[in-house]
Structure formats: C-alpha cells, structure tokens
C-alpha cells in the first residue's frame, strides 16, 4: 500500500512508442511529500521524460512501454490521473508550448487556468493581478502573448502554472531565459511556499543547492545519485560531466572542508564551515 506522506517510485522503466532504447531504467526512489526535489542531468538523461511520468502525460497522453509504479501520496499518475491533474501544474521546457492559443492577451492566458478551476470572477481578477505583479508582467497584461520577449514568455508560462496554487508543481527548466534578478526572486519564492511538492529540473545548480531538499541525478536514464545536495554534489563522478555549485568549487580551491573530504555546497554550509575553521 502506498504511503500517504511519500512520493515513491518503484522499478520505473520507460520506452517511447516506436523507439527501441529505454529512456528510464529501473528507477527506485522515494521522498517526503511537500519537499523540493531538484532533478539534474545532462542532455537526453531522461529528465523531461521523468517529469512527464510524474505529471501523468505518460501514459495518459503519450504512449510507450511503462513498467513499475509511481505514487505521489496516495495517488498514482497512472490510475488517478484526473484527480491528480487537478492538483498539479506543469511548466514545460519550451514556453511556447505552454500557451493555450485561445487567449488574445497575457491577462486572459493567466486567467485560463482559473476559469478551468471554476474560480469566480472577482477572485480571478485578484489572482491575475497578484501573479502578474509577482512575475513582473503587469505592464504586459494587455499585450498579445505572441509579442512577448523570450524571458517574458517564460515568466508567463510560470504565471499560468502557479496562479492556481497547485499542491504539486512540476517545473522543467523554468528559468533558462529569465534575467538574474528574476531568477533569484523565483527561486527564493519557491523556497517560501508551503504544502507544495515541487519537482524542478534545472541547470542552475547553485540555486538548486540553496533550496532543494533532495537532488536526483540522472545519467543516461539511470538514477545514479539521490539524497541531500551535500551528499549528492560531493559524490558526483567526474565522468558524468555535471556542473558543480560555485560554493563547492570555491571551498575545494580554498580547502574549506566540513571534514572527511566533504565540501559545503551552499552558503549556509560554507558559513558554518568557515566559522568552525576560525574557532579552531
């Protein structure tokens, strides 16, 4: 029986239809609900595919050979998709694909999800205004989504997902085109929201190490490392060619270790470790 407080993936394997190579290989992992899970890995490692499985796009809308079992709390994306989908929002890697195509303005595009959730008009007004302000799109509310700059479009994609305050948020590389301040604000905001399970694929390893409770590392469809960012980053195999956070690079250069060849990966850990060295 599935544990209500856990995300659990057991023996998950997947091969796309009309394709021979397995994209995900026997993945086994679990994590507590309402935590932030960072998913990292190189091209074609299977990050987007894993997101699709978690969101139930696979197998509900995309076919293939799916083995194993996935549970988010007591719901399974395979069996309870429509219930799960109502609590889940997904930011796709390509913001262009996120648009409904049925809205003439940015404001309408953001309101679309709220309409679908049966929210009343006054609440819609308020939520749209709030989220637009949060994502700095207020000046663009009346513009057509197709005339936005790349980064603005990405902000819109995020806005459409977070506007409904979902319980599960799946983010596939959501900040790749955002400016530094916008990216920092977004990651800081992610760290503050409660009662939400967040899966986030990103190349922003520095930000992930600051906010993620868990990191999962995918290499060629296999989950090769899982754990806290401290454990995972310290155990990366150089052959995987995965970038490391600047804190870790600096600590290694300066040899500021937490003992036992363990180097800090975020600012807090670095602070602690430098403090210890001084007191010694």
């Amino acid at each position: 029986m599935a544990n209500i407080q856990q995300i659990s993936i057991t023996h998950l394997s997947f091969t796309y239809q009309h394709d021979t190579n397995t994209v995900l290989h026997d993945i086994n992992v679990s994590a507590p609900l309402n935590s932030i899970i960072g998913i990292i890995g190189n091209h074609n490692a299977g990050k987007t595919t894993l997101c699709r499985v978690l969101a139930g796009i696979i197998p509900n809308m995309m076919g293939g050979d799916l083995l194993g079992d996935v549970h988010i709390g007591n719901l399974s994306p395979t069996k309870d998709w429509s219930v799960l989908n109502r609590q889940t929002d997904f930011v796709l890697q390509d913001p262009n694909s996120q648009l409904s195509g049925l809205a003439d303005t940015v404001a309408d595009e953001i309101a679309f999800d709220l309409l679908n959730h049966g929210v009343d008009e006054t609440t819609i007004q308020r939520r749209v205004a709030d989220v637009a302000a949060q994502m700095q799109l207020t000046a663009q509310l009346q513009q057509s989504p197709s005339s936005l700059s790349g980064g603005q479009l990405q902000r819109l994609a995020i806005a459409t997902a977070i506007v409904t305050k979902p319980g599960i948020l799946i983010l596939d590389d959501p900040t790749s085109e955002m400016d530094p301040q916008g990216r920092a604000d977004f990651f800081n905001w992610l760290a503050t929201i409660k009662d939400t399970t967040i899966f986030i694929v990103s190349n922003e390893i520095d930000d992930l190490c600051e906010i993620a409770d868990r990191l999962w590392v995918l290499v060629d469809g296999e989950l090769v490392r899982k754990g806290t960012s401290l454990e995972v980053i310290n155990q990366l195999n150089p052959e995987w060619q995965i970038g490391t956070p600047k804190v870790y690079q600096l600590a290694k250069l300066m040899y500021w270790s937490l003992g036992a060849d363990l180097f800090p990966v975020n600012i807090n850990q670095l602070r602690g470790c430098v403090h210890d060295q001084h007191s010694n």
């Binding site: 700095q136 700059s149 301040q181 995965i242 970038g243 250069l253 600012i267």
Partner: protein, 268 residues
C-alpha cells in the same frame, strides 16, 4: 578588424509601448557580452543589427558601410545570427538539410557543401543525428543545430542570442570554447546572456541595456564593482561575489572562484 557603429537609433514595435533608443554605440572588441533585464531590448537590437527589422530613425554601420546598403550576399557573409528561440530558426526536413540550406546560400559546389555541412555538425556534436527531423530534437539540440547553421556560413560577425539556454555543462563548455576560438580567429562574437558567472569568466567587454537604452559599456569588473549600477539595471553580481559578500562581508570584485583563490593565496 570588424566594427559596429550605431548612431541615433530608434525603434518601436507597432503593438507595444516599448521603445529602443541608442544614441551611440561602438563595438570593436572581438568578444562582447550584452546583458539586461527581460524585455530590455537585447533581442530587438540583434534584429536591427541583422536588418530583420528596420529602424525608424538612425544608422547602423558595419565595417564603415551602411547596413542598409549591403547586398543580401554581403550581409550574410558579414553578420550571422543565432535566434533566442531555436525552433523559429529551423524549417527543413532533416538536420543535415537544415545546415545545407544555409551553406547553399553562399556556395554551389556540391562537394564543398557536403564538407562544410559535415564539419559544422561535427563541431557541435550532432553528426549522429543528421537524419533526424529538427522538430524531434530536444531544446538544447535545437540550439546547437541553429549554431551549426551559422557556423556553416562562417560570417565575420556572430550574434548569439542567449546561446547557453538549457545547455548542459559539457555543451556549455563546447560553445564557450567555440566562441573563444572564433574570436581568436579574428571574428567578432557578440552574445546576449543572463548568466553572470559565464559573463564574468568569459568576456572582457560588456554592454548593458535597460529599458531600451545603453546604460553601461566597459569591463565586467567595472560594472560589477558598481553595486548601485548593478542594482539599477536589475542584474546581479557573479555568484562568487555574492558568496564573498554574504559569508565574509567582502564586497570586492571577483570574477570566478579561481580569481578569488588567486587574490587570496597571494596574501598568505
């Protein structure tokens, strides 16, 4: 030596309030970064530099020739652009044809075309995917492919609009080395980026845009050293400077962890 000279440039889209206005901007360095907030007008500037949209006022001179007076062939060999959104740059049936289409604009000899295509694909590491449909590629692969289409023409000036988007670490290294190599070979390479760490580590010159205007031209060290300016333009300092600030209350300029290491090991 290539040069770009912009005078009294004004541009506005018919359907938005945004205004781009650049009084004067000269770019002569080989490796230049352009930074600025979302919607600051960076991509618009690139479209103007390639003649894809026409300014309402002002002039652009490339190598002392008016951009508007260049023949299409000349323009193609002078300046090439990699779009921010790779999907809108690609329109052929296979990866190989995609690159060949570009080469065929400037070259007719079939053997030369085939060689150039193979070289370009090999450079970005897409040789194995050459028979795939570009629309089936992943985002980063599309980005690499659109880079290959410009490499194949080999213009004097390369414009890269956010080349690092969604690239993984090895591909980022590849593209960085490629750009450095091009710059060494006397090409001019101009890249838009939001990655301050990469900017600090790779570029010696940066132009910063805010609300359609050029706010800063010069060395990244100077820019990052002026915290009021960095704030005002909505950008941030490189991660290493944030670390130094937050952990050691040290607000000096560092570009990379290595830079920090060197500056601090001298003292010991």
């Amino acid at each position: 030596m290539t040069s770009i000279q912009i005078d009294g440039l004004k541009y506005q889209y018919p359907t938005s309030d945004f205004k781009l206005a650049i009084d004067q901007l000269t770019i002569t360095e080989n490796l230049v970064a352009i930074a600025g907030q979302n919607g600051a007008g960076k991509s618009t500037l690139f479209k103007l530099l390639t003649g894809l949209v026409h300014p309402q006022a002002g002039e652009i001179h490339i190598n002392h020739r008016d951009l508007a007076s260049l023949t299409p062939e000349d323009r193609l060999k002078t300046i090439g652009i990699v779009f921010q959104d790779p999907s809108s740059q690609l329109f052929n049936a296979t990866v190989e044809k995609e690159v060949a289409w570009s080469v065929l604009q400037v070259e007719t000899d079939a053997a030369v075309v085939a060689d150039t295509v193979n070289d370009a694909l090999a450079t970005v590491g897409l040789t194995e995917l050459k028979d795939k449909n570009p629309f089936d590629l992943s985002m980063p692969e599309k980005k690499l492919l659109s880079i290959a289409t410009v490499l194949a023409v080999n213009p004097q000036i390369y414009l890269f609009d956010e080349p690092m988007i969604s690239l993984d670490w090895p591909s980022q290294q590849l593209v960085t080395h490629l750009m450095q190599h091009l710059a060494e070979e006397k090409h001019q390479v101009i890249a838009i980026t939001h990655d301050m760490n990469w900017l600090a580590a790779t570029f010696a010159k940066v132009d910063v845009l805010a609300d359609g205007q050029v706010i800063f031209e010069g060395k990244p060290e100077t820019f990052f050293g002026d915290s009021a300016l960095t704030q005002k333009t909505g950008l941030m300092t490189p991660r290493i400077m944030q670390i130094a600030q937050e952990v050691f209350d040290d607000s000096r300029v560092y570009l990379t962890p290595e830079d920090y290491f060197e500056k601090h090991s001298e003292k010991r």
